[in-house]
Amino acid sequence: MHARMRFLLAGIPIVALTIAVPFVNRAEPRIFGLPLLLAWIAFWVIVTPAFVWGLGRVDHRW
């Protein structure tokens, strides 16, 4: 359970920023004015700290 949780928390943002990208490789729709591809990458950059925070919680580091 613990291992699967860590795997998901680390894996989801990595997958989102790599192999998921070809599936959002479009300029439209625009999100807050940004082309979809750029908005997708920016979104995952913003939420990655939350995933790493979760990792730290699971690991009892904070």
Partner: protein
């Protein structure tokens, strides 16, 4: 000419001011290797932040990322993604590097190879690859520095001379202060860079287009294909993007100065917190993309290496000289400060791993610091001479840095997280990986658009695992 004096005056003031600030902030000058090379392992969150983030904002990213945006468009987005992927790996890796560094008193990146694998030839090989690949990296920073000074001087002054003078000043500075001085100077550097990027990334699109959003409206009409990646197997298409983000994300902390930065933390928790928060810092890359796209719309038609200077062209043409001065000052610090961290790590590697471990020279603390300092000065001068003599051909040597250094990743990741890892496995994978990476990259071979470094890394990992399974482990070193 008046413009040149005011903008160069600002660059000069900022560089000298940064050096003075760092000198006055130091409470003592270090004479132990632990102090001089890894800051006494006492760095808290802020120092770690600027040291680890220093890798992102070198002059190469500053100029190159905007240049890629201008020249290629969406492929530049990988720069924002790979750092973020790098920090996720960093959450697992950095505390382990710190731990073994603390337990064994490690100073340099090759020291890890001695500590984990207890194998002198492997550590020596790593030391040589690290040291050799750093010099072209420093010379690239010098080329960046020259570009900023050329623009600040409006073409009226000898920028090469300016680059030489400021580089000598910064080498003397790191000679005197070591890693602690670099960290203090990085604080100023990062503050100034953020200011400059806010300007070029927001003020320019607002002034010329109304807002970044309307700037993208114009991009949609004028260059829609620049906002997406090419088809799967196209050069810089989606397959290239995925393989490049994975490769560079895995290799993100493999630079010898990054390993030294991990040693310098005061505890593991500082590193974990940095790994959590640093991705936010990557968002600043958005401003670089805005600047690059704006420059494409405002000043189209640049080609070749000139695209790297696209936003400087806009600032020089449309803004007062003091604005240009501050932007160029930020750029100059981006060239100079990362150079100090690189020179310091190369010098400490040569002093510790080659002179010390191999030839038993300068083993006492005092002598080791003296030798490291001497080598900082000598390597700095060496980089300067190489740069003046060979400028362009050196850029191809950078392939060794980017493609070579990443091949160290399996030695670290497998070494920490898989007990069966053996020296033979890691060494075979490493040598095969570096050879293949440099060969493919130098021939520009990229089957299906895959980044050649990624192919080499795959071979490296496969060999490391297979041969580790076939050979016997000694008592695990960790």
């Amino acid at each position: 000419m008046v413009n040149a004096v005011s903008s160069l005056g600002i660059v000069f003031t900022v560089v000298v001011g940064t050096i003075l600030f760092a000198l006055f902030s130091l409470r003592r000058i270090a004479m132990s290797p632990q102090e001089y090379i890894v800051g006494g392992r006492g760095f808290g969150a802020v120092f770690l932040w600027v040291l680890l983030a220093g890798e992102i904002y070198t002059s190469f990213t500053f100029l190159g990322a905007a240049g890629w945006t201008y020249g290629f468009g969406a492929p530049a987005f990988y720069i924002m993604a790979y750092g973020t992927v790098g920090y996720i790996f960093g959450y697992f890796l950095l505390p382990r590097i710190w731990q073994i560094g603390k337990e064994r008193g490690l100073l340099t990146a090759p020291d890890f190879f001695s500590a984990r694998y207890g194998n002198k030839p492997l550590a020596t090989f790593a030391a040589l690859v690290y040291a050799v690949s750093i010099l072209p990296y420093v010379t690239l920073q010098l080329s960046g520095l020259q570009i900023f000074l050329t623009y600040a001087g409006y073409g009226h002054v000898d920028a090469q001379l300016g680059a030489i003078i400021s580089f000598v000043a910064i080498v003397l500075f790191v000679f005197a202060t070591g890693l602690r001085g670099t960290a203090w100077a990085s604080i100023i550097k990062d503050a100034l860079v953020i200011g400059a990027l806010l300007f070029v990334g927001l003020a320019i699109p607002i002034q010329f287009f109304g807002s970044p959003v309307t700037m993208f409206d114009q991009m949609m009409r004028a260059h829609p294909s620049a906002l997406v990646l090419g088809s799967a197997t196209a050069p810089k298409g989606t397959i290239w993007y995925v393989s490049t983000v994975l490769l560079t994300g895995i290799g993100f902390f493999m630079g010898p100065h990054s390993v030294a930065a991990a040693y310098s933390a005061k505890d593991a928790s500082v590193l974990r917190r940095n790994a959590m928060l640093l991705p936010v810092y990557q968002l600043i890359m958005l401003l670089v993309f805005f600047a690059g796209f704006s420059a494409l719309l405002i000043a189209p038609g640049l080609t070749g290496t000139a695209v790297d200077q696209s936003f400087l062209v806009v600032v020089q043409r449309f803004y007062p000289s003091w604005v240009l001065g501050f932007v160029c000052a930020a750029g100059a610090l981006c060239s100079l400060i990362p150079s100090t961290a690189l020179l310091l790590s190369a010098a400490s590697i040569l002093a510790k791993n080659i002179a010390g471990d191999l030839f038993s020279i300068a083993l006492s603390d005092r002598n080791r610091v003296i030798l490291t300092r001497t080598l900082v000065a000598a390597l700095g001068l060496g980089a300067l001479v190489l740069w003046i003599a060979l400028k362009t051909t050196l850029v191809s040597m950078l392939l060794l840095y980017y493609n070579g250094i990443t091949q160290f990743a399996p030695a670290f990741f497998l070494g920490f997280f898989w007990r069966r890892t053996t020296t033979a496995g890691v060494a075979t994978g490493l040598i095969a990986g570096i050879t293949l990476a440099v060969f493919l990259a130098s021939r520009s071979i990229a089957p299906f658009g895959i980044n050649p470094g990624f192919i080499a890394l795959t071979l490296n990992v496969t060999l490391a695992i297979t041969i580790s399974l076939l050979t016997k482990t000694k008592e695990p070193a960790i």
